[in-house]
Amino acid sequence: MTHPETARDIAAAVQAGQTTAIEVLETRLARIEQIDQQLGCFQQVRAETARADAHRVDEAIARGEAAGPLAGVPIAIKDNIMVQGEPATCGSRILEHYVAPYEATAIERLRAAGAVMLGRTRCDEFAMGSSTEHCAFGPVHNPWCHTRVPGGSSGGSAAAVAAGLVPCALGSDTGGSIRQPASLCGVTGLKPSGGRISRWGLVSFAPSMDQIGPFTRDAADAALLLQVMAGQDHRDDTSAEAIPPSGLQGLDAPLQGLRIGVPAEHCSADNHPEVNAAVERAVDTFKSLGATVCDVQLKTTELGVACYYVVGPAEASSNLARFDGIRYGRRADAPGVELEELYARSRSEGLGAEARRRIMLGTWVLSAGYYDAYYRRALQVRRLIHDEYAALFKQVDLLLGPTVPAPAFKLGEMADPIDMYLCDTYTVTANIAGICGMSIPGGLADVDGDTLPVGLHLQGPVLGEDRILQAAHQFQQATDYHLSQPPGAATSTCS
């Protein structure tokens, strides 16, 4: 029999009785067993609890009940989102043995829609990184080329979808942590607008920019998962009271008259040539679909990374203060030392280099005497970025460009943290402004003999997910980039 690939196909087949949730799950578990040792996507696979979830779905269907739009769909969760009763390490030693006592709102909603929580994926420590190399429990390998990174910080989730281990996965995106790995792994990744999905149960890195979002095989699945997870939540004060996203409805509407802007600053000559070529191809495709495409300017692009690396670390330095080894998490084995010393030792042992770097950076920019020069200035820049986007979205409906300047780099290649930070140049401004963005596959590039995916970046206004999903879906109807799979993945997921 053929194992369907998208979440929609799985849910339809399970609901219709063509397959069962447990059968879908066992296939994926077998595949994980077979290849995840080489990839390292999963921090932990929870076969037993997943089987129990799948059985519940099958029982509901046997009773003749509707099991939800995600009936029997296995899903992988980034290890910084709370799944009740399961560990949540955030890729950090300091939370190595921490077990979530409650469930994230997004997980609750996925479960209610019939999804099966299959396990948790590796990420950069506390979602800080662009390669998943800063995971305390080991790196993740890009399924397209095992010597290369999957991107980050949600690298495990992106690679798991790319390798066909799961049809969809959750990540979180503070500066590009969904879109960048989606681009590097050749899958669809959506960062919803600030406030779209409740952050209750997502471990905060920089709350003013953090968002949960899905990795999927295509835009229609992303629309479906968004619809399931979106909506105001009384446990998250910043969750938006807004018209809910339309899900699959409207995705097929033609793009006639859609105005697309291509920011000149994103099509830099410094980008990898194949990256710029993919954008040019996409422009032609969108034109052929009836959209009008024009060049626009996004002058604040060059300010994005600087602003982000002040605001993000500032918030992170405060959010990560709770990991002090007193109430939970790793405590240094240092009986009898003074309290301050105990804090210092627990945190130095428990937190990795990148997390410590950002805590120090954030502490510094908030300190008396430096606040005005850095933090306050960054907030002013934030306002400029926000305003420029707002003005731009009066002229165009969405923006198109590359997600990242270049395809996946090699493990260990980015030694200088600043080089790594610059990977986020095109993605951070969406988080700074609170708008939505997504990365979709835009073709394959040959880099030093390796075949690697290239991602296209679509950005839309605050709560404008419907429009970018519609554009992405139409693009995927007209092209087959999103159907490309890394070597070895195609044969084992299909039939």
């Binding site: 409650y102 209750w200 910043t238 007193i326 109430r327 309290l339 908030l366 606040y371 933090y375």
Partner: protein, 507 residues
């Protein structure tokens, strides 16, 4: 130092923390230990992911706390701006589970206000309020297990973590320990009247932190100010008074010794040693925290509109100062009685209701009714309340019953001792005063037939006294009247008995 001090002036600004008695915590929906229903909750039984600062947990605003804070702000004459927002105050301590406290730094809920109140000089003084803002309380660190045994290491109770705290800050307008105490007591009375806390000091419902320094005028005409000292966490009025008195003396002595004046780097924080009646240095400015305040990204700024303000203003009751003023000016009560009746807001409301009833049914003028009711509540009532460990309004007597009792007394229908008895019965039985008095034979008997019968018997029993009285010894009347009262079980009208004795034995 070289120059002699010719005059000195004390300057005190107060910071007051009030734990608001909301049903749930400031940023989560778990019960609040500062609410009477949860005062004695077992340690760490009022906990949730938010107040424990667990990863992934987020704060959400408790609008009941915002309403209460706004109410206090309005009572203190504060302006309520259109927008306020939240900030994080960052520091490490085990009882602060997130490593930061959510507070309001840049844009507080309540901005400048003032209250006018009678001070120790007898004159009214104006105390300006700088601001009042909301924040969350921390957990409690202790070193003793329940029952008093020493704990190994420190123990922390997070029940208090997340309790809504209102911090009120004044300008340095107070000039003595006496005035500071008067102000603090008034603030408690206001908060009680607004029902935002029961204001039980031992439970830490209110904590006071005076900022104190002294301005010295020297012989050569120069003025110098001593360095400002903040005394932390005082939880009794006695401590507020004691700490200020101690500091004023200590600061002047210290200046004489080292000549250090107020200025940057010269501020310090001290604690109060209740047993030693002295303040002790906690930290000096050099090692003061840098709290790295920044806007709280988990909470959106709060917008306050006119409709909201009007809704809260409507809830403002008569404040204790106004009430006391009314009792003294309109009803002629002494300030002492007025103060006693307004100490507990529910008692004051009960008193008002009683006066209203007495006024209605006794045809007394308001002042007469007010004075009669005050007399009952502050004497017999206070005695009974004290015995029962309750407040005066809780002893069981109803306003209608008390009005009935006053009516009987005013009409001369009941003697003073029987009236006391009747008061006691009214506190534990239903029914109006006259019915209960009749049932208990407590009314005065002025029926001459009955009186004469008892007088006959008394004269027969007390032969010597009767002879003495007849012979002109007035003092002998006491024994005869006492005998009649005894025979009548208190029901005889003493004045009438005396009159008839005179008629009969001296007539």
């Amino acid at each position: 130092m070289s120059s002699k001090i010719v005059a000195q002036r004390t300057m005190i600004g107060m910071e007051i923390h009030v734990e608001l008695a909301t049903r749930t915590k400031m940023f989560s929906r778990t019960p609040n230990v500062a609410h009477p229903d949860w005062y004695d909750a077992p340690p760490n039984s009022l906990c949730d992911p938010v107040c424990l600062g667990l990863p992934g947990a987020l704060p959400t605003m408790n609008h009941e706390a915002i309403d209460m804070a706004m109410l206090v702000g309005m009572a203190l004459g504060c302006r309520i701006p259109d927008q306020c927002s939240w900030d994080r105050k960052n520091y490490f301590y085990p009882d602060l589970p997130k490593g930061y406290q959510i507070s309001q730094y840049q844009h507080p809920l309540c901005a400048e206000g003032q209250i006018e109140l009678p001070l120790s000089s007898g004159e009214h003084g104006v105390i300006r309020i700088t601001r009042a803002h909301l924040e969350e309380d921390t957990g409690k660190t202790g070193h003793e297990l329940p029952g008093g045994l020493p704990a190994e290491g420190s123990i922390i109770d997070y029940n208090r973590s997340g309790t809504p705290l209102l911090e009120i800050v004044t300008e340095p307008d107070l000039t003595s320990a006496d005035d500071a105490e008067i102000f603090c007591r008034e603030l408690r009375a206001i908060c009680r009247a607004l029902r935002v806390t029961e204001g039980i000091m031992q439970r830490g419902h209110m904590r006071f932190e005076p900022n104190i320094n002294v301005v010295l005028t020297l012989e050569d005409g120069r003025e110098v100010a001593t360095p400002i000292v903040e005394v932390k966490n005082l939880n009794s009025f006695r401590a507020v008074h004691g700490a200020i008195e101690y500091e004023v003396k200590r600061q002047v002595d210290q200046w004489k010794e080292d000549g250090i004046e107020m200025g940057p780097g010269a501020k310090s924080t001290r604690g109060w040693d209740d047993l030693g009646c002295r303040t002790l240095l906690q930290r000096s400015k050099e090692d003061a925290h840098d709290y790295r305040y920044f806007p709280e990204p988990d909470l959106v700024p709060l917008e306050v509109d006119d409709a909201w303000r009007a809704r809260i203003r409507e809830r403002l009751p008569e404040l204790p100062l106004a009430r006391r003023h009314r009792y003294v000016e309109q009803w002629g009560l002494s300030s002492k009685d007025a103060a006693a009746l307004t100490e507990v807001p529910a008692t004051a409301i009960f008193y008002d209701t009683c006066v209203h009833e007495a006024n209605r049914c006794c045809e007394l003028d308001p002042a007469g009714a007010a004075s009669a009711v005050a007399k009952w509540l502050l004497n017999a009532g206070a005695r009974l309340a004290n015995e029962q460990g309750r407040e005066v309004h809780e002893i069981g007597i109803e306003p209608e019953q008390l009005a009935g009792l006053i009516l009987l007394r005013e009409g001369g229908d009941i003697g003073s001792s029987n009236a006391d008895t009747l008061f006691g019965r009214l506190c534990c039985e239903d029914g109006d005063a006259r019915t209960l008095a009749e049932a208990g034979n407590l009314l005065q008997v002025s029926d001459t037939g009955a009186l004469d019968g008892w007088i006959d018997q008394a004269v027969a029993e007390q032969v010597q006294a009767a002879e003495d009285f007849a012979g002109g010894k007035d003092a002998a009347a006491g024994r005869l009247i006492g005998a009649v009262m005894k025979l009548s079980r208190g029901g005889a009208d003493a004045a009438m008995v005396r009159q008839r004795l005179v008629e009969r034995l001296r007539g």
